[in-house]
């Protein structure tokens, strides 16, 4: 090569690098902050996660402490949300329960996303018979109504929060897989994938480094939306008595417990129910905002 051996740039490359990264983050933040609904969603989610973290500090009582003389007291200065049929403080139970409800939601979405992404990438990238097999498998899973599939899985594994997580996660798999498969097929035929193939990259590198980052946006959007559904499904399963077992303060289980006292002590069901609906609303709002910010194809 004819050019001089010492071509030194007259600008600080490290600075330029930082600058670009900041710019991308700023533009993402700008879109998000301008979207009021998304911000509301973000604030709700942040509040819930905060509650989850500091529950032991905030909780005025032990969530498991039974005191029968205090049972079914309506909301008061002592018990802001009242007490349940065993005299446990509902506020404390809700605060602690956030860990279970959110935890199950996040874990099951992570589970579903992990397997869904792998299946989707493989099906979309290799195509042909691999795609046929994976896609038919997904079709079978999708053909089951979600709750029914979860019921079947739990009846096989036995009730419990971990099994609820798996059950809800399993029926998230096809949703992620289908989205990832579609985007993968789209990205796969772009010229930069051909370019990296002609450079000699193997399939693993191509999939992990070049396809995965470019199908990430729809996954994030789907993930945040899915969290809402997953929390709702987990609560639903607990409500049916298949998830969290008494005395654990899972919101769905609390709701189920309150059902028997709906007329005499409506606060037993109202507060956990409200917690679930507001959280689901938060994730949905945030998810919509994320989609607008991350998915340029859907922009007006």
């Amino acid at each position: 090569m004819a050019s001089k051996a010492t071509v030194s740039p007259n600008v600080d490359l490290a600075k330029a690098r930082q600058h670009t990264r900041r710019e991308r983050w700023q533009s993402f933040r700008r879109v998000m902050t301008q979207n009021k609904a998304a911000m509301a969603g973000a604030i709700i989610i942040a509040a819930y996660f905060l509650i989850m973290l500091v529950a032991p500090v905030l909780a005025p009582y032990d969530p498991f402490e039974i005191s029968l003389e205090d049972k079914l007291t309506p909301p008061s200065a002592d018990h802001w949300m009242g007490t349940d049929d065993k005299g446990r403080d509902i506020l404390s139970r809700i605060l602690y329960g956030s860990r279970l409800s959110i935890g199950v939601g996040v874990a099951s979405v992570a589970f579903g996303a992990f397997f869904g992404i792998i299946l989707g990438l493989i099906a979309g990238y290799y195509g042909k018979w691999v795609d046929t097999i994976v896609s038919r498998l997904l079709d079978v899973m999708l053909a089951f109504p979600g709750i029914l599939l979860a019921l079947a899985i739990i009846s096989a594994l036995g009730p419990g929060l971990v099994n609820v997580t798996i059950a809800v996660g399993v029926f998230s798999i096809p949703l992620f897989a289908r989205i990832v498969r579609g985007s993968t097929m789209e990205v796969k035929q772009l010229e930069y994938i051909d370019a990296i193939r002609t450079l000699g990259a193997n399939d693993f590198t191509i999939i992990v480094k070049h396809i995965f980052p470019n199908v990430l946006s729809p996954i994030i959007v789907q993930g945040s939306m899915r969290l809402a559904t997953a929390i709702l499904s987990a609560a639903g399963l607990s409500f049916l008595g298949l998830g969290a077992q008494p005395p654990s303060p899972e919101w769905g289980a609390m709701l189920a417990n309150g059902r028997d006292f709906l007329f005499s002590a409506p606060y037993m069901a109202i507060f956990p129910g409200m917690m679930i609906s507001v959280l689901v609303l938060g994730f949905n709002l945030f998810g919509d905002g994320l989609r607008d910010a991350l998915d340029p194809k859907l922009k007006k």
């Binding site: 071509v7 740039p9 490359l13 330029a16 670009t20 010229e191 370019a195 990296i196 450079l199 000699g200």
Partner: protein, 334 residues
């Protein structure tokens, strides 16, 4: 021609690329699109060989088959005398660096999530061209070679214009020290002034780095400017292959003549009559029998309908696949 005496760097023998079509029903006959049907040519070191033809004639497919981006149905590609088509995937990956490609669409050919630095670094790491320590200097050198500022290394593709992106594509192809570069419509998506810049850049690279180009294009004026030899393709097969001057001065195949007559001329006096071909390009699923061009050729006879014309040499550097090439040549050019 001295260039003909050298050993070819790339040799394509009887390359076929058929794409199966989805069957309409279980019992319908298996159909294939014969995108490239039995083509052979040689690429000599240091030259620029162009492939021209209208869209759908198989020129890009030829490039992709050579690179094994699509596995060829049949035929053989030899690189420096060694067969590329029989290599295993792993062996192929190791020699990938020798043949690189520059793509048409500068907006689709760069990964939007990678900075230019990452892109070049990854390419060099895959082909293991040099130790990591030397890469920094090499990247800066490459950037100045293709005429980009060094700080652009830190940027993402969306921050560049089409011409700049194409320069990045060229830098990415060059960073693994290739010997052959396939330019697949490399300038077609750029506007004319940028086209000239990129072509000049390619020419300079060829001179300085001793590169061989297979230049796939539909733009005859660009081809005339850049090539040493030209291949004309029609419906998946080669109709004419010749030195540039020979081809542009004495086009021998009726299709080449029609194609060349479509070049707009700025000279009022020299205004040529444009040969307008009748009908559409036949379907590559069921190409015509005999000479593939006979359905649209103004000179076609019964012989053309039944016999496939061989690609035969008129002069040592000019081959044509037409039964009546000599007769046509002696008739006044239209």
């Amino acid at each position: 021609m001295s260039v003909m005496e050298k050993e070819p760097i790339l040799e394509v023998n009887h390359l076929k690329q058929y794409f199966p079509l989805k069957k309409e029903s279980l019992f319908s006959p298996k159909q294939t699109v014969k995108a490239v049907d039995d083509i052979s040519f040689k690429l000599y070191p240091g030259e620029t060989l162009s492939i021209v033809g209208e869209s759908g004639c198989g020129k890009s497919t030829t490039g992709r088959s050579i690179l094994r981006l699509d596995e060829p149905t049949e035929g053989e590609v030899l690189f420096n005398g060694a067969s590329m088509t029989s290599l295993s995937k792993k062996e192929l990956r190791e020699m990938r660096g020798d043949i690189q490609v520059i793509f048409q669409d500068p907006y689709a050919s760069l990964n939007p999530r990678q900075t230019i630095r990452k892109m070049l670094q990854e390419a060099m790491t895959i082909q293991n061209v040099m130790p990591k320590k030397q890469m920094e200097a090499r990247m800066l050198e490459l950037m100045s070679l293709v005429g980009l500022r060094p700080e652009y290394l830190e940027r993402y593709p969306h921050e560049f214009s089409g011409g700049q992106r194409q320069r990045i594509g060229i830098a990415r192809a060059l960073c693994v020290n290739p010997k052959v570069i396939i330019c697949d419509e490399a300038v077609s998506a750029l506007d004319v002034s940028i086209q000239a810049q990129i072509i000049n850049l390619l020419k300079r690279m060829q001179r300085d780095l001793d590169l061989t180009f297979l230049f796939i294009s539909h733009d005859l004026s660009v081809v005339r400017h850049i090539s040493d030899r030209v291949i004309v393709m029609y419906l998946g097969s080669i109709v004419e292959i010749a030195d540039k001057d020979s081809l542009f001065d004495r086009p021998s195949h009726p299709y080449t003549r029609a194609l060349l007559s479509a070049i707009p001329s700025t000279d009022e006096q020299q205004k040529k009559t444009r040969i307008i071909l009748k009908g559409d390009v036949p379907s590559p699923i069921n190409p015509p029998t005999g000479c593939r061009f006979h359905t649209r050729c103004p000179f076609a006879t019964d012989l053309c309908k039944t016999d496939v014309p061989e690609l035969r040499a008129l002069t040592p550097t000019h081959k044509v696949a037409c039964h009546y090439a000599e007769t046509l040549l002696s008739s006044p050019p239209v």
